[in-house]
Amino acid sequence: MNTVNFNVDGQDISAKKGMTVMEACEEHGITIPKLCQHEALENVMACRLCSVEVNGKQILPSCGLQVDDGLKIQTQTDHLKKYRRKILELIYRSENHYCMFCESDGDCELQDLMYEHEIDRFEFPRMYPEWPVDSSHDYIIKDSNRCIRCGRCVRACDEVVGNHTLSLGGRGINNRIIVDAGVPLGESTCTSCGMCLQVCPTGAIFSKLSMFKGVKKECDMTTTTCLSCSMGCGTNVYTKTGHIVEIEGADIHKESGGQLCEFGRFKPLANKGERIKNVILREDGEEKELSLSEGLEKASEMLVKSYRISAYASGDLTCEDLDAFAYAMRAHGALFDVVGAKRHRFETEVKRRINMIEGHFVTDIREIMKADNILLYDTSIYHTHPILASYIRRATSNGTKLITIDAYEDKFWNHSDKSITIESPKTQLTRLVNQVIKEGKASIEDLSRVSSILGGLRVHPKDVMEIVNLLEEATYDIIIIGDEIIDRWSLRHIFELAKLEGSYVISLNHAGNQYIKNLETEGVYEEPEVAYILAGDEEDQADMKELIEKADFSIVQSARRSELTEMADLVIPSLTMFEREGTTIDINGVKNKVERITEPKGGIRSEIGFFEELAKMR
């Protein structure tokens, strides 16, 4: 059988083989104090706080002890309590803990344990080691004075984020968290994901943006889905009297380990434009403030009297928002498009042409971590899709080979096995690869001859061969296409390659909500009479700007002042990501709920209601 039977505190317990004693106990509602152990991370047995008495003699850390038949475990003996108290006291006294002004006061696992063990006095003298505070990062403060060296942050950065920015260094009491080779965090390879501060049990790493905004334990917490990109990360948003205190990753049990990226965790709380509270009309060089209903009036007037109307929406809205907007715009005869949808249309077209079936597409992006090889087109996803990037990094640490192809510097440079930098048309490279695969390796000779005759072709036959070899020897390879690749030919060659090699594809686009794949979009007039842009939270989308510039009259509906709203003739208030509610579809096609976190604070309460009205005003 797969289960073992043993005894904890006099209670008979059965558990699955391979579990640790701590896990088994927790499953049965027996809590054992712990500090270094974290459910999303490997166990390292660094603090020994979780020690239990085994078979009446040994004292062993339960987070590292496998369950076994016949074990007799004691978790709460007086001796253990004393032992644990001593450990806690030593941890506390050997660093500089001043709870009264610590950002984690009230949310600190060390402090909780000290209370639980009723530590109201200390046997050991204080050490007063001197540590500086590292405040160089835009969002994160690292304060070694409160670091208990549990190593959770190090493991998180390594195991979950795949980034290896943090490590433990120095001997004895000088053992500390080191950033890269000893640089300030703000100058390091840190990707600003904030995973370290999410797992830190103490106030040793924390967010500047959340400091003293509230004790999480006392806050309201809502679980929702981040709308910033298509990864569909679950977030726990903490609020106090309706204001956001902190955002944490919700999915610690999943592969993502509760990871979030800069856009999900920090950006929403960082500096932003001012909220738009009233409708703004710019007419004859003058700026007027209007009420929402006057704005509605003006918008419909413009829509009714115009023929060529372009409606363009941000891709970071809910399905319901997109539907309502599309409906209203169609009612006025507009052409309708969403950020990211164009790329999707090309893709669909190409797929149809080359007769590529859905089976070629990865349905769960975590598959990345199982691939033998990854061929990545466009490394800017390092910044635009950080969670996906973390999976790629993690894969490479586990031996997956990574080849990147980019017009610019490879952003995965310290993870990739080969970086090919090639200016457009990238398509040439892929086309050659395809040809070689089709016609055999010998053809590369001819190809290089041909190419040199044609001149100007900067594709290296060597690069071509390398890709070919790699794909050939692998059994499971994934091709990832970044959202910057938008020309049809590139897409076509890449898809052809996938088809030829039987590789799986992950294809990204700019939209946060993949509902764009279900929506009917058609591309817009490039020089419309009226451009109606539903920007939501979006602040500067190049194609939105272009559209505004070319339109005779432009309407921008936006939550905040931005470059877009400065350009528009009519500005209408919109909602932020946290004021929306509904659903969103992630890259795996899963529909997730979006909860309203804060009451709308701009000039509009219900955007959907607004569009319903607008639809009627024909």
């Binding site: 709870c99 009264m100 402090q111 000290m114 006095r121 200390f122 204080r126 001197e130």
Partner: protein, 179 residues
Amino acid sequence: MAENKPKVATACMCGCSGCHMSFLDVDEFVKDLAELVEFQSSHVIMDVKEIEKVDIGIMEGTITNDENVEVAKKMRENCDILVAWGDCACFGGIMTMRNFEKVDKILEECYLEKSDEESVVPDDELIPTLTDKAKGLDEIIDVDVYIPGCPPSADVIRYGLEKLLEGEIPKLDKDKLRY
């Protein structure tokens, strides 16, 4: 009746008075207390000869100078049960932040660099001399009851006093303990 009332004295060393303020936040309970105990003030610690001992001595604040040391010792001699109120008295509190630097250097920086040119460092014999390190009470004297917190809440202070009046030595459990 008045003779049987336990006598209580409180004293403040280098603290912010916050613990005493928190004590006053027991509001109306102050009135009950007035019935239950007799408050001798901390003058007891000034002259041991003339003052009878108190039952409960309560101290707030950190030990930072020789006068604090003396006061603490006298309080210990003159009370049966010594109570430490607040992080400062219990563990040293925020004042121990000065322990990262030498006293002379701190004084120089605070008084010479941050005042006008004619300023001097205070060193008159009429003012106490700073100890090398700021310390919690129990680094100098024995403490019987620890009520940490910065400050401990009025409820916790009240709980501590009530227990003492019932004749028990209070010990804070995890719901009452705060740093």
